[in-house]
Subunit: 356 residues, 5 copies
Amino acid sequence: MPNRDTISRKHKLGQPPGALLYTGAPRTEKATFSLTSYNDKSHSEHIYSNFASCFEKTIPGFTHWINIEGLHDTELVGSIGERFGIHPLTLEDVMNTQTRPKFEDYDGYLVVILKMIRFDRETRKVVIEQLVIILKDQIVITFQEKDGEDAFDHVRHRINVSKGRIRKSGADYLCYALMDAVVDYYFEALERIGDLVEELEEALIEEPKQEIMHRLHDLKRQMIMLRKSVWPLRELINNIERSENPQITDNTHLYLRDLKDHIVLVIDTVETYRDLLSGLMDLYLSSVSNRMNEVMKVLAIISTVFIPVTFLAGVYGMNFDIMPELHDPRAYYILWGVMILLMVLQISYFKKRKWF
Amino acid sequence: MPNRDTISRKHKLGQPPGALLYTGAPRTEKATFSLTSYNDKSHSEHIYSNFASCFEKTIPGFTHWINIEGLHDTELVGSIGERFGIHPLTLEDVMNTQTRPKFEDYDGYLVVILKMIRFDRETRKVVIEQLVIILKDQIVITFQEKDGEDAFDHVRHRINVSKGRIRKSGADYLCYALMDAVVDYYFEALERIGDLVEELEEALIEEPKQEIMHRLHDLKRQMIMLRKSVWPLRELINNIERSENPQITDNTHLYLRDLKDHIVLVIDTVETYRDLLSGLMDLYLSSVSNRMNEVMKVLAIISTVFIPVTFLAGVYGMNFDIMPELHDPRAYYILWGVMILLMVLQISYFKKRKWF
Amino acid sequence: MPNRDTISRKHKLGQPPGALLYTGAPRTEKATFSLTSYNDKSHSEHIYSNFASCFEKTIPGFTHWINIEGLHDTELVGSIGERFGIHPLTLEDVMNTQTRPKFEDYDGYLVVILKMIRFDRETRKVVIEQLVIILKDQIVITFQEKDGEDAFDHVRHRINVSKGRIRKSGADYLCYALMDAVVDYYFEALERIGDLVEELEEALIEEPKQEIMHRLHDLKRQMIMLRKSVWPLRELINNIERSENPQITDNTHLYLRDLKDHIVLVIDTVETYRDLLSGLMDLYLSSVSNRMNEVMKVLAIISTVFIPVTFLAGVYGMNFDIMPELHDPRAYYILWGVMILLMVLQISYFKKRKWF
Amino acid sequence: MPNRDTISRKHKLGQPPGALLYTGAPRTEKATFSLTSYNDKSHSEHIYSNFASCFEKTIPGFTHWINIEGLHDTELVGSIGERFGIHPLTLEDVMNTQTRPKFEDYDGYLVVILKMIRFDRETRKVVIEQLVIILKDQIVITFQEKDGEDAFDHVRHRINVSKGRIRKSGADYLCYALMDAVVDYYFEALERIGDLVEELEEALIEEPKQEIMHRLHDLKRQMIMLRKSVWPLRELINNIERSENPQITDNTHLYLRDLKDHIVLVIDTVETYRDLLSGLMDLYLSSVSNRMNEVMKVLAIISTVFIPVTFLAGVYGMNFDIMPELHDPRAYYILWGVMILLMVLQISYFKKRKWF
Amino acid sequence: MPNRDTISRKHKLGQPPGALLYTGAPRTEKATFSLTSYNDKSHSEHIYSNFASCFEKTIPGFTHWINIEGLHDTELVGSIGERFGIHPLTLEDVMNTQTRPKFEDYDGYLVVILKMIRFDRETRKVVIEQLVIILKDQIVITFQEKDGEDAFDHVRHRINVSKGRIRKSGADYLCYALMDAVVDYYFEALERIGDLVEELEEALIEEPKQEIMHRLHDLKRQMIMLRKSVWPLRELINNIERSENPQITDNTHLYLRDLKDHIVLVIDTVETYRDLLSGLMDLYLSSVSNRMNEVMKVLAIISTVFIPVTFLAGVYGMNFDIMPELHDPRAYYILWGVMILLMVLQISYFKKRKWF
């Protein structure tokens, strides 16, 4: 049911704005919490299954990253919102997995909503999940739809081994690092799609089958979905850049400028693939019509060469009492001559018109 | 007559600007009025069939919401306009059901005109109706084309049970809440259309029939209409945001920003569906031409295999006196051999060209 | 010769800028003048065939509207220009019936150039004519290409019976009222075109004939022309709004804002019709190719079912001396059995492939 | 070799910027110079074949127009540049006939580069040539690629007979007058193209031949080229308008505004023709497929009507010893009946399906 | 594997931002360095295979150009970055051969990243390579992916022979000169592509083969790639122009304005080629369908002319005992007459419908 990705499944008809309603795929597992705390000297990492205990651990002077996986627990999200003073509208966006990517500067905190894109090698389909990043003072809270192949593991690893500048920088850099990790996965997914496009192109040139058209259509639909997730990112990053919020340092702005270049490259690549897919569809259609042309030519040549001579044979198979030609001893041979001549004339006519 | 939705039925040719002329579907029922009054402590709700009595009831210190269903009574609309000091141009827009969605800041009141969209499950068509919201001090007046499945019932319910922040907020929030309720119905309608798109895609992959093309065309036309209703909303909400009218509080602006995100998502989704529908049309056309290809191949193979041998059979059915082959005892068997050889050669040629 | 509408017929090659050259259809009738003078107390209306006498009648303190029909008299237009101090470039635009719609703020007067659009019910074509409105103090001068079904009669009537606010307002409101009357006719024309689109859609669904394609093409061409006339109006009205000319009062600006909404709706509707027409063309093409598919299937089924059995009949119609089967008493019946079996097999194959 | 127009023939690979390299069609004739000098009292005109002598003649207090035809002489262009203090980059643009239309405000002089467009009635093709206009104090220098049907003759004539305001205005007005003359030729060319479009439309409706498609393609390609020449003019004229160079007087700005309207009209018309051509291509393709449909229907009807009865005839032409029907005296007549019945049934089936 | 050009091969999944990872084609050769130093009096040029020794040679008062070919040595790029104080994000861009063309103004230096485009005459494909130019005080550092046909040789030659103004200008002019040399190669590549487009057009008009469609598709794909490289250049040059960095002198800005015109011309030309290629595809498809039409007409004419008469011949070849016509002495001649009449009627019908 891939189209369903385009629109929320259960919409909040009749709910007041800010009402919490989970709109993702149904889940039963319990949400999990991880708390990563670090400064340039030390770091710690804990996993909890209870929000209250998770929160007790935050230490002043450290950067804290609280990662929450699983959004289906309305009550839980509500209590997190209350604890950190998050506006109900933000919480509504957290739970509605169809929210459009955006950056918002609320009084006291910043929110970034974007889509994590992963290419599932088995179904050969792009999987889109929502990620919400909230930056409040030195605390970064991330909400993920579900747990799985994790773009964040790389960031966590860098914190652990103190690779790059992440341990030396504050929560705003962590925010950037998470967004950067998500965008890196976009390139990964696009590369896989690039492989599929190439594969289809080769298959198409070898033999144009209807199945290829179906796969082209499928890819095109995925590009439409991807585009919907990726297109708003340009505006998102522009809004961050223009925001004069003091929480984002000048140094992080430099990195955000770099991220913007990556996002623009992602958008360019999505557009390029759309163009390539359109080109392949045109190629497919022209191949089909070319193929038909060839079939028709063979049919036309064979039919038109034999139909007139078959008629002649039919005529001399008639049983009229009086058919003088039948009694002429040379008639049979003359007829063969006429028939062969006819066939040769037709073939040379087709040859002249470059039919073969 | 679906196209007629795109343009007014009876236009006001020769009428002065501001002349009142009802352009919706003809109606005979009497217009109905409901008056909802509330503050954070109490609320009341009354239904009237007479405008004058409706108005007597407005109490200072409360937020009043006057909902008017049925716009066909020119005189009535005129007297409402006079009572509240509404400009004739606004009243003209109220009655002309083809007005483009817009926000206008008149001296003394604000007007929002938008389209209510409902998906009729029986006709499987989108129904578009006009809604005019006028905000004047603590009074909100809404004009609806007709009564039916009502997006406003949810808002009314929230007022009654004091759900969310509606009872604590003023008339500007009520305005927002009504717009939000209308936009929620857009998602509902889009979800239904998404179901239809999906249904058509499945039917199309199973068997491409012309009926599917007709349904695709029908959906596409509905998307064109939807787009016309939805596209101006972006500008509308931008105009509200930019308006510095003191009637709209800062808090409501926050909610309007959220509404804007929803509107942009609606627009994105409409565009996505247009893209998906175009993709399905391409798929349909390629399926049809593929199907034709297959039919032609079968025809070509059978025809070209049998036409030459039928000619040979015709030749030896001729009645010439002198046809030496006829008298050769092995001739019949040799001919069968030649004919079978011919057929095998042709079939292997087609096989080589990957015709089957 | 409908394309000719897109470009001037006789262009002023080699003429200096500001040279007067009439480019409309050739005319021989004399130009006519009407002078309407009014204030809120009284009004008068006169028709002249001589410009000088027309001008004598203008009375101070009144709003004057001079309407001139027929532009082919170069000398006349020149003398009007001289009398009112109109710049030669404006006069050139007055006479060149191909001028693009625009608003210009000259020193001492304002010019609005737009296209009057009328749907001719006989030829079923849109007729486009140029209208120039010049506003100079309390005088409005209008130049029309020719006389006919007149959008201005309604305005004249309103002046006569003092309907609406026209008699109470000045020359700037008259200007607006004229533009509004012209735009009302756009809706009228669009409604007629909407009828044609609908008619074509119904005819198309019933039976796709080539004639429908020609009519679709014709409508599409008319939409291209309409669009060229209508598209610049948005810029025109924006320019008026931005112009800070004191001749246009605040009150009239309110009406112009309303007019702008109408213009945007006209543009939207033209675009909607273009989309609908494209949709109908796609539908037509798919219907044609579907139809072909059906024809080919019937041909393929009948041909492939009968060609092999006809071959068999041909074989046993041969006259070889030695054909043992011919002498077997059951052979004829066996052959019928084989032939029927062959036909049944083929038909069930086609049935399985859903050919019918 | 029409595509070659889109790109320079010999590009200056490895040349320093500002290097002079002629890129137009090869020429051997000597360049010619004409010097026109005028003020409102007198004027003179001379033709030289030597640049030095041409320059001696410039008289203070007069407006001078030096027109140079033929750009292939690198040395000559270099010496002109030196004499008037022209920047090497400008000279490079003068000689490179592929320069994009632009306006540049250099220190001490202004440059306008645009394309002269002429419709060659013999080849029925648009001919594009480059024109460079340099305005330096009271001197206007124009560089033309070659001499031929001359848009400038009209301007020269107006100077000679003192028609219009040219003699009363300065060098900036001359500049404008030259650009206006060039743009007037655009309308001329567009009118010719409009004739061709119309001609093709009529031919297409009468009979859709492949030759029409070739001509449509050819016209479309010319529109692509035209567009490339015309599109940058809007920016060019905007740049002149925005330039606050004192050499351009207020009065000339009024004329430039008028020129801008003309340019926008040219661009609109080019776009309109592109739309019309696309429409004609769609019409052509639908006609071809309709034609095919008709051919296939005739083939299908004749084939399917006769194939089954031919089979029956073949059956009773067989030579089996035992074929009881052959000996029934009514059999021949019954068979005719059956065959006619079959044919009638098929024809009525086709009739019912509206095949004819 | 041409699609792979659109996206990086090995992306830096899990690497921190600023991590150096070479993403181009694998290489084994050692990187080479060349140092060109010059002022208006003298110049020197050296080639090194060791970066440290290369750097020792830089002399104060001279303009230095360090050209580095081969980017696969991560360590080397890192040490260059350290030596010149280049930000890690810049170094990441240097090594990632998929970086989008851009200009960046870092604290202390400027970076320009663009694509070098070369047309490989053997593979008939466009080869795209990355070039990074860093401008820091009087030092220009260029990073090239690999060594080959070198756009820079021309610049080097100009330095050596002191051609043009390069020796008299500073490092900013050198920067410009390098970009100009790169853009000149774009024209070269576009000219080659123009040749191919023309070649295809001629081949297409002569005979529409499927192979042409494949080549058109291939060219179109190359245009998509080219466009992706060329499109961002407009923004790049605008950013340089708007940058108020004192390193870029006013004089160089004049040259950059000229370069901008070239870039816009390149973009225009790429778009023009895309349009031309689309036009050729339409022409190809119409030719194919026209060809099919012709084939079908020949088939239809021959079939429909002979099928009915073959039926008649079949009828009189039947062996019924009683077939009175067979014994009429004129019957055979009458039948011939009927058959010829039938054929003539059909042919004249087809003639009337303009089938041939």
